[in-house]
Structure formats: C-alpha cells, structure tokens
Assembly symmetry: D2
Homo-oligomer: 403 residues x 4
C-alpha cells in the first residue's frame, strides 16, 4: 500500500515485464540443462542486453550521467525484485553484483582517470569487474582481520595475499582489492585501503573457480580464488583515501543489502508461484489436487505472510537510507539481512518439499536456488554477525557495550 | 519511515505519553498484586478515565459526532500500540474490546432507539457491553455452526443457547447475541442474526466467569459463560438485517484485527524493553552484564527484526482497509492475525527466558502477558483458520477451490 | 523395547495404575477449581498417602532401610513418568521435590543425629523440608555467585542472606541452606557449604510465597522467599564437609534431572492423550471430527515422535548414572535437561492449541501445566546453562576451553 | 548404554574402523573434486571391495548362506552408522541401496531360478540392480496410484510405463519393476505386482540420469528415468505372488528405514565432528577460537542432544522389528523416518553455517551432504506421509478413522 511503487517505477516495471515473462525463463532453462555453462550463454545474453539498452531499461539505478534513470534506492528496490526471480535477471539488466558495488564505489570515490578508464565502460556493460576482500584464512565475521597487504614501494603498491569468493573474477577486466596498507595504525579500522588492480597485471593470479555446491561455474557466474604475489600497480590506483578501506566497504554494504534482499524477495515470489502452481496441478488422487492438503495450504499462507513482511521491512530500510542515509538506518539494514535471508530459506524449503521428488531435480529452478542461495545466510555478513550488530546498537541505548 | 505516524497522530501520542509512563504502570502494579481484582480498581480507573476525557483523549478512534477524533484505522493503529503496552491502557482510554466492536456495530447498523439508549452511553464509557457469539459445544473455527437460537414469537424474540468467552459479561449493561434465526435458509451464511439483549432480562444468566490460566477475573477483565433460557426481548432489538449476523460479524473482524495486532505490538515493545533492561542490569559475574551473552543478544536482535516486521504488515493492512475496504484486504487481514500472534508469543517467551526465575514470577508483567496472551493464537480466529483462509484466497487465483 | 520396564517395575506400575486412573484425577479436579488451595487438600491427601503406604507403594525409590523398595534410577524412572501425569502424583507417593533431593542428601551425608531427627520422619512423609539455594540478586546460571553467608561464631553458624524459589517452604520443618562459609578459599567451588536450619529458628523468616504465573500457592505447592537474619544454628548442623556445598549440589542434580525429565514425560503423555481425545471427539462439522485436520494429525505425530525420543534419552541417561555414576554421564544429564524441557513445552503448546478456547481455560489441566511448567526451561539450570555445559564437555575433546 | 553395540558387533566395528578412517575419506576426496565421476572410481572401488571381502567384512547384514554374518537389524544398525559417514561407505561394504532391498526381496520371495541367476551374483557384488517404482506423473505419497502396467500375454508380461528415481539404473544388470497387473481388483492394494526385468530386454530404456541438485551422476551414483515400452519378460519373472506388489514394497520399507536412518546418523556424526573441529581451529581473533561464540556452542549442544535422540529412537525401532516384526513396529518405523530426517537437516545446516563461506564450497563434504540429503525428507515416504501414518495409527486407538 504505502510501500507500493511510484507511477514512474510502475511504468518501468510494465516495460520490464515481457523480459521477465519470456526472455529470462528461456535463458534460465538453458542454464539449468546439465553441463550447461554460463560462459556459453554470454554471446546471446549480450544480444539481450543490447535490446534492454535499446529499450532504455539498462541499469535503471545508475545516475543519469552514467546512462541510467537515477532511481532512488526505494524505487530501484521494486525493480530489483522483478529481476530477482530469475538467476540471470540482474545480469541481463546490468544490475549484477559485484559490478553494482564497484560502480557505486568508483562513482563516489574514483579519480577522473579511474572513472574514464574503468567506470564508464563498466557502467555500459562492456567490461566486468571483481571485488577481492574475503580471505580463506580469516573469518569473514571480523573484517578488521585481514592478512593481505599492499606496501608502497616508490610509486607502486606491491600487493601480496590470498582472497576468495571474488564473484566473476573469471573474465573480469579489473579487481578492487582490499589490502592492509597501514598495519600499525592505532585504529584497527584505519589499516586497510582499496586498490584497483587491472587483471593481467603480473602477480595477479586467478587460482581457481571455487566449486560451490557442486558448481565450479564460469565467467560472471563463478567465485574465484585469487592470489596476489608481488603484484605491482601504480600508486594512483588507490581508490578513495588511504586507510579508508573499511569505511568504503561499509558504505557499499548498505545499498548492497537492499539489492540482495529485494533480489531474494524476487526469488521468494518465484518459488511461491511455482509452489502454488504445483499444488494446484498435481493430483494426489483422481480430481484431488495436492492443494487440498492442509500442510500445503499452511505453507502457502506462512510463505505469503513472511514474504509480505520481508518486502515491507526491506522497502522501509531503503526509504530510510534514501531519507537519512545508511548510518542512521544501520539497525534496519542489519535486521533485514538476516530476517529476509531466513524467509528466503524457509520459502525455498517449503516450495521444494511441496514438489516432492521433482523438487530436488533440476527440472525446476527450485533446487538451483536452494543450492545457490544457502549462502544468503553467510555472504555479506553472516546472520550471526548482523544479529550481534543489532544487539550492539540496541543495547548501547541501555548503556551497555557488548563489544 | 513511510509508515510513521502523521503529525496529527504524533501530537496525540505526545499527550498520551505521560499516562503511558506514569498512570498505567501504577495501575498495572496494583493489578499484578496477588489476589488483586480488577473490580477493586474500577473506581480509581474511572477517575483516570475522567482525566483522559478532560484532556480530550477519550476514544480517539470514535467518530467526531460520538465524541472522538475520527481517526482513520491507520492513524488509530499507532495509538493502539502505545496503549497496548499495559493491560489497562485500552480500558483507560475507552478503546477496549468488545465495546469497540459493539460501538462500531451499533454506529453502522443500530436503529435510532438503539443508538440513543445504548450506543451513546457506551461510547461515553458510562456503561459496558458484551458480545456473545462463541459456543462451548461448537468449534470456533466454523462460525456457521451455531446451536443457539432465536425464534420470533409475536413481537418478541425468544432466545435459547449457551455462549462463552463473553468478555466483560460481568457488569455489562447489555449483550449482543449471535443467534440462529433462520435455520432452514438455504445459504448457511444467512441463518444467524444479531440481537441486543439488556442484562437483567429474565432468562439471561451469567453462569460463571471462566477461569482462564488461573484467573477467574472480574468485571471487564473477565470472560463469561452465558446461558439464554427462553429469554425474551422485543422484535426491535434485532441489530442490522435479519440473517445478517455473519456479515456483521465479518465486518467487525477486519478493524478488530488491526486493534488486536497493534495492541500485541505494544506488548512486544514493552517486553522488549524489559528484556533489554534486565540484560543490561543483571550481572552474571562481577561487572559482566547478562547482555554480554550471545544468546541474549540474538534474542534481542531477532525480536527487534520481528517486531519491526509485525508493525509494518499491520500498518500496511490498516492502510489498505482505509483505502479499499476490508474485503479487498482480506489476505492481509488474515496474514497479520497469525503472523503477529506468532511474533508476540516468541517475543514474550524470549523476554521471560532472559529474566530467568524472575520471569515466571508476577514481579514483572511478563508472566501476566505470557499467560493471558497465549490466547492470541486462538481468539478471533485461530492461527489455523486464518492460514486456511489465506491459502484459499491465494489458491483461488490458481483455479483451485480448497473448501 | 530395550528401555522397557523390568518385570519388577511393571508389577509396581500395575499396582499404581488404579491411583493414577482414579484418585489422582479426582484430587487434580479439585485443585483446578478456581480459588482452590493445596493446603485445603492436605488432610485428604494424607489419607491417600496412608493408603499408598498400606499398599507398600510409598516412595519406591527409597532405600529399603528407609522403607522403600530400593529401585535403581532407571527403574524408578518409569514410575516417575506414571506419577508425573498428575500435578499431585509425586506428592501422593512421597516422591516430591525438594524432599527427594534432601532425603538423598541426608542419606548420603547426614550425621546419625541428622538422620534420626530429620531424615527418618521426612522419609516417612511425616514432615516436609525445603531447599534454599537460589538468590534473587544473583544469576542462577552461575552457582558460584552467592551472597548469603554463614559465619562460624563459637559453636554456632550465623546465617545471613536472601533466598527464593524455596519450594514448599511454607509448612516445612527444616531447610537446607546453601551458604558461603569460606569466602576467601582460593577455589571458587569450595567456598560454600550446606547447613540444616530448623524452621522456627529465630532469624529464619519466610517473607512471602512468590506469586508464580498468577498463583501464590500454599503449603508444599508454593515457592517461598526466605530471609536469614543473624540466624543461629549449632555447628553440628553442617551437612557434609565444610566447603562441600557445590559438590553436594551437583550430586543431587544428576538424579534430580532424571526425576524431573520423567515427570515431564508423564505430563507429555497426559497432554498427548487429552489432545487425541479432543481431536477425536470434537466435531468441526456434523460427523467430521477435528482429527481429520492434517495440522492436528501432524502435531499428534510430531508429539509422538518427540515424546518417544525424550523417554529414550532420559532412560539412557538414568541407566548410565546407575552403571557409571553421574560424573561420567554429565553430557547426557545436561542434554536431557534442555531436550526434554523443549519437548514438554512444544507438546503442551500443541495440546493447548488443539483444544482451542477450551485450552486456555482451567476446565482441563493443560493450562495449569502450560503455566507451571514454563519454568522447566529455567529451574535446575536454564536451557542455556546446560547447552553451554554440553558444548564445554564436547569441545574439551577438541582441545578447546570455552570457559 | 542399553543400546550399545554387542561385543560381536563391536569387534566388527573395530575391524571396519581403518577403512572408515583412511580409505573412505580418500575416495570421498576424489569424488568431491569438481567434475569427478563416480564411474571413474569404480575400478579402484572394486579393489577396495575385494579387500573388504578378503577381510570377511562384506555385507555383514547378509544371511550366512549368502556369505554374510547374519546380523540382526539392531546389530547391523551400528555398522550402518559407521559406514554412513562417507558417501561411499555403504557401497564399499556391499550395503548400498537399492541392492540391499532387492536382495532382501529375492531372498524372501525369489524363485530358485531367480536366486541362482540374480540374487547370488548380486549378493556377491558382481552385478548391480535397480528398483523402478516411483512415477513422475504420480504422487509418491500415494503408492496405490500407479500408471505403469504389465499385461499377461501368453507366457509373457508386457510392460508399459514410465518410472524415475531408479537409483543406480545406469549399469544395473536388472530392475525390479512395480507394475499394475490387476487394475480391476476390488482391493486397491492388490492391483500391483513386482516383476524382474533384465536390463537389455527390448523395450526397457534408460531415458536419462536425472539431474539432482546439479549432479547428473553416473553408474551406481545416479537416479535414472526409465521407460518401459512393450517390454516383454517371461511370466516366471514375477517376484512373489501376483497382486503382492504393495505388500512386498511395504516389507522392504521397514528395514530400509532403519538402514537410511542409521546412515543419516553416520552423516550427522561426521558433520558434527567437522563442526567441532572447525569451531576449535578457526580463529575469529588472535588466539580466540570460533568455539568461544555462544551460538556455536549452542548448535553443538543442540546437535549432540538431537543426534543422541535420533540414534536411540532408531535402534529402538530396529530392536522392535527384530523382536516383533515390522508391522507391530509401524508407529516407530514412521516416526523415525521424519524425526531423524529432520535432525539430519538441522545438523547439516548448523555445520554448514559454522563453516561460513567454506561451508558452501566443495572443499568439505558438508555441501555435498547438504545437497544430496535434502531428499531425505522426501524419498521413501515424505515426512508428511509418515506423519499422516503415525496419526492414523494413533487416532485409530481413539476410534477415529482419518483416511
């Protein structure tokens, strides 16, 4: 109701609808074929992207001077949901992670050279990028703990370290690397910086695509393990201020969580629709649809309730960020992360169970989502990290420090 | 954010605040004293009500011609939350069930005589009323199944049957009775009617106050079992059209659920505050507050997330009813009933557990809420009834009839 | 199967059965009448106890020389379940807390004088006792934190401090008090001792019966708050070794948890039976019992599965204690505490919900159990305390100290 | 304790231990390599099987005359758990589904010819088999609904229909096919029969290996979709009596569920160990292991409690089947199916979450189990089917028919 899309957004949604209904499912079908590789779909996906651009629908969240529509976070949220129902929706419309985050980062903090050389082609979808922050030997729950370093040697940064879960590293044109540059700074949060590393720079090595839930993946649809070994880049490749790595990382997380959460809600609606369709069409006895089973009905009702709630809390957080900025909305940003991830997992689990044996097969996209979105409770701050954060903010109001 | 109270409502909330902070806790404390009876508090509660009226805060949901402020459902929702944190808030401000529902009913469907004789003093809080619908021998989940009857005998209805969970029957001036008047009507939903029965009419008998979770209760704070034995009232005591009982009952339920849900959210916030206070002040070792325990932190975070979600879905449903009417918002009205009741139970359970042994005592109001609000998942349509309804509405869109 | 009662126990169960079927429900019915007090039932309960004794069924867990049957923990467990289905079963058969624990304590550690003066009449049920350990100002989760002290002054202990949740303090003949006697002992766990305090000793004061979930209770069925104010008792009233308080408290907890868990399983079976009866008899439409609802069926199935599991883990723990002693069974003893308490709460919640409105009334014993057994997750070590203990034992095997 | 393995079984477990510790993990590691195929491991797995046989450890559940040890179900259960911790354990020791079930079937109901030609080489592991019962177009929840038919034409059965989830169909030497042979029999449960179909028979066609959670699989580690198209086999290939298909299917399910449940418990223990190891070794800050987090501790404790309970209920059911037969243990057999599957899913979920990002990778076996054992709540009767069965058995004791 009060969170309904504006007329402007509704118009965009109407124009996106045919893609969501026809093109994306066709690509999804091909992606789910056993043995299919994302990289084999890229040429045709590029044609689809061209049509999207020609229709003026490319990357609607982008600022107008970068070729987008300049939507607010709240406005884009509705579109993110619409695209999220397909694994390829965000990619097709130029809204995919981690490029979105890198674009936001360079828009805000890039030098003019960084913008013209990297940001602009990235925003146009001509190149892709990756983000190398998480480290295999360090707990993701404590971003202050980093092992990778960048040492200034004359006019160059010399990078060393190991990173993983670098989405889309295969085929990326450049990486943003989070490295410890000032290990002795008295403030833990001022020790790291972000540095732009062109792929191909000697010493930058994609070790492997990590096999995730049985999928090695390829191209954008992959998660790389990257090693920096005496990798040298110009001093000018620093993004933002020296020691500003954590602040920048935090900055990208607020909007990032809205994007993720709305995408998850898109997945929820997709799974919900598949669940209802199957319940309505599968007969458990002649002329008796599965939908007559009370357990199935209750799962539908509980899912409806939870998805509605998930959407409202996410849109509320988006509106808050738009209005007062991410720092003032930090409780909301953290609560939606674990709340919506939990809804996602439960809805997928119910949809799968309603499908019975069919649910675990790749004949529907449910198993794909079930496998690949289990990580929703982990990436971008595990549930537990966000719960601790919320409690810290709340309890501070009661005069207690919990960290 | 977008669901925040309007300025008009915020001003009312500010004026209510001192009552919420000072008066209500004082009365609550006295209510929780072992052996205390609500009826003993009535004289002083009446003085409090007089002050509320003098401040122009009486029954803000009432239409202006009945002496209220004429707030929309969405506007009143915020006030209902503020009052809900105390067991006596709604009573003190003239917003208590079942009088609210009876006032809405008589406002909409009462005859001029019914209005002047019963509605007006009721709206002023000079009398109280009860609602006799549920029957001990019939499942509340199927409102079409009623055993109590009213037969027209000349100019009088003759009522017979047994009802229970008639809140505030003790001390009520009149009852609205849901009776089968047309048992052979071909439409199940057109067989019952509502009839106004003045207490004191021969044949109307309050058998007992039902002992609920250890409390027999008294006066308004009680749930009566009522028997009608050849109880005769004038034909003119019919409320609304003959056979319109179910339609009227449905009508009162939509807004009623908003009232309940917002009141529950008020209870949630109260319990949340108590939980945080205790976590912050109770030491588990010297200088180590309970709040340092991760489980306590996670309960706080989960509760914060769930309460926020509960508030948004309820306000969204209220805004929908305001905008398009209850029938068009029936999915939302049913989802909030079980969703918010579930949140309430979990939040109370966590708050109680955080208090340890203290939590089960009556030294805090938590145990009182824990006992008395377990019924939230039952009254006004059990969780299961609402889940089935939501599924029915949803699955109808998929071409399936589940009933 | 392998956990079935032995023939000896089965014979006892057969003889107990008529009491369980006839006498206990009759007393329970009277206890649930609004306003009823346990103390009013005592005279007739004493007659029942006399019959139990005459039948040779009194306190079957007692050693033979104290007049019992000398059952093993495993054997008594089955009997404890049978008696647990009624709130009065354990009392009627002389197996009620805290007397059982005090009897075990004095049997093992009492002096000859303590035995003849206190233990023997206690074992015969002629007097009652209480146990004063928990303190309102200290966290129950950390038994090392105690504020109450006993100082040796000549030949007397001088006791000071405040205790609560002293079950049955009203009407008890004596209390066992857990007091800090050696505050400076280097080992935290060697600072407290147990001291026997006859009620009536100057300085021993029962401040109040704590109102728990709306019930102040009376006599055995109450939880007292007790103050010791310069209360003097002879030096010889020390129970067990000086500084041995914690060791003794631990000792009583192992068997105590078996007793509690089996009693809870008795409650579960009782609630399960009530749930099934109601599902079978309540009609939701003519000739359509509530039992046809899938949700009700699933709750029955889930409850059956969980109760079976709860019984097996408890009997397994009992058999382990019998075979190798409580310390070697500490993981099992801690797991059953929270596992079975969780099952109890879920089964009661489902049974209540299946009963609908009737479930929250005192017309069935479900609401009574729901109120009074919420504490099962708190007393005798909260769930959270036991979970931390289990993790500590397990992780120690992985070389980690978690405390 | 009372469910501990017998000395005989303990001796076998000791001899199995080196395989479990060394050989199976090595094969598992190779199976988890991206792109690895089970079929490529078969030659070396055969060598492992040869060693197992040489050690006298082959198929210990087999009757002695078939070369096994003749263990009871209860005895074998402990061994099944030990083997279950690896995806390849049961295969390596000749205990893998569906061959176990087919061996039991042919042992009990095979003709002498069927035994010599098929059973004996199958028991020796020289050939494999499949079981074709479930149909894609029919609900697995209602085994009476089958579309596939076998019509007697002279001395031959002519089979037509489509089956799926035929484990190990690729590479199998024969299939047991569940077909409707008597569609007009008045008793629904007497309409189907089991027929042995040698692979290679014209009209038997393996359409595909179904892609399950991203894996097409191969050889034994695959789930086939099979079509029968005018497939003719001799009349003598009937297994058991005509019309006895359902009875035989039921017969194989009782022991089959013990096998599955104990295998799941083996997986649980494996995941539990991995979770504890990771919690103990991963540092979240210098010298601060992840195990210090209370949430991790609680997951460990809850998992310990649930796994213990799962083992006891399964062993109890096994002992019952041994003692009184599967029909008399049907409540227990159905409760363990959903109870243990639920424990499995929760333990895997917690173990995965404790591992953070590592948990979703294939660098540990947890993701493999997470993907492939989601089906545990579906195959062999979905949770919902078993819950309905338990309720039916229970409610029948209360005089209600729920079907």
């Amino acid at each position: 109701m009060f969170a309904d899309p504006s007329d402007r957004v509704r118009a965009i949604l109407d124009r996106i609808a045919p893609y969501v209904k026809n093109d994306l499912p066709e690509f999804e079908r091909r992606l789910l074929v056993p043995g299919a590789e994302f990289r084999d779909l890229v040429p045709e996906l590029n044609q689809l992207r061209a049509r999207v651009k020609a229709d003026g629908l490319w990357a609607p969240w982008l600022s107008k001077d970068l070729g987008g529509t300049g939507l607010s976070l709240f406005e884009f949220a509705h579109i993110s949901e619409a695209l999220g129902g397909s694994p390829l929706g965000h990619y097709a419309f130029g809204c995919q992670a981690p490029d979105v985050g890198n674009i936001e980062l360079l828009t805000e903090h890039g030098t003019p050279e960084q913008k013209s050389r990297w940001l602009e082609p990235l925003a146009r979808g001509e190149i892709r990028s990756t983000f190398t922050m998480t480290e295999p030997e360090m707990p993701g729950s404590n971003p202050v703990l980093l092992g990778a370093t960048a040492v200034l040697d004359g006019d160059e940064w010399v990078l060393n370290g190991r990173k993983w879960f670098s989405t889309g590293a295969e085929g990326a044109a450049f990486a943003i690397a989070m490295m410890v540059t000032d290990p002795d700074h008295e403030k833990m949060h001022a020790r790291a910086s972000m540095i732009l590393v062109p792929v191909g720079t000697p010493g930058f090595r994609l070790v492997r695509n990590i096999s995730v839930m049985g999928d090695v993946g390829s191209d954008w649809a992959s998660h790389g393990e990257v090693v920096y070994e005496n990798c040298r880049v110009p001093k000018a490749n620093l993004v933002g201020p020296r020691g500003g790595g954590f602040a920048l990382a935090q900055e990208r997380l607020g909007p990032g969580r809205i994007h993720h959460c709305m995408r998850w809600i898109g997945i929820c609606e997709r799974a919900f629709d598949l669940m209802c369709r199957h319940a309505a069409s599968r007969q458990i006895a002649p002329f008796v649809p599965l939908a007559t089973r009370q357990q199935v009905q209750f799962w539908i009702a509980e899912s409806r309730a939870e998805i509605n709630a998930a959407r409202l809390v996410t849109l509320d957080a988006a509106a808050r960020i738009d209005a007062v900025g991410a720092p003032a909305a930090r409780i909301e940003i953290s609560t939606i992360k674990f709340f919506v991830a939990g809804v996602l997992q439960r809805v997928l689990d119910r949809a799968l169970q309603v499908h019975g044996g069919l649910g675990v097969t790749d004949d529907t996209p449910i198993a794909w989502f079930f496998r690949h979105e289990r990580a929703a409770r982990i990436y971008d701050g595990a549930d537990e990290v966000h719960k601790a954060s919320v409690a810290r903010y709340v309890l501070a109001q009661y005069g207690v420090k919990t960290r």
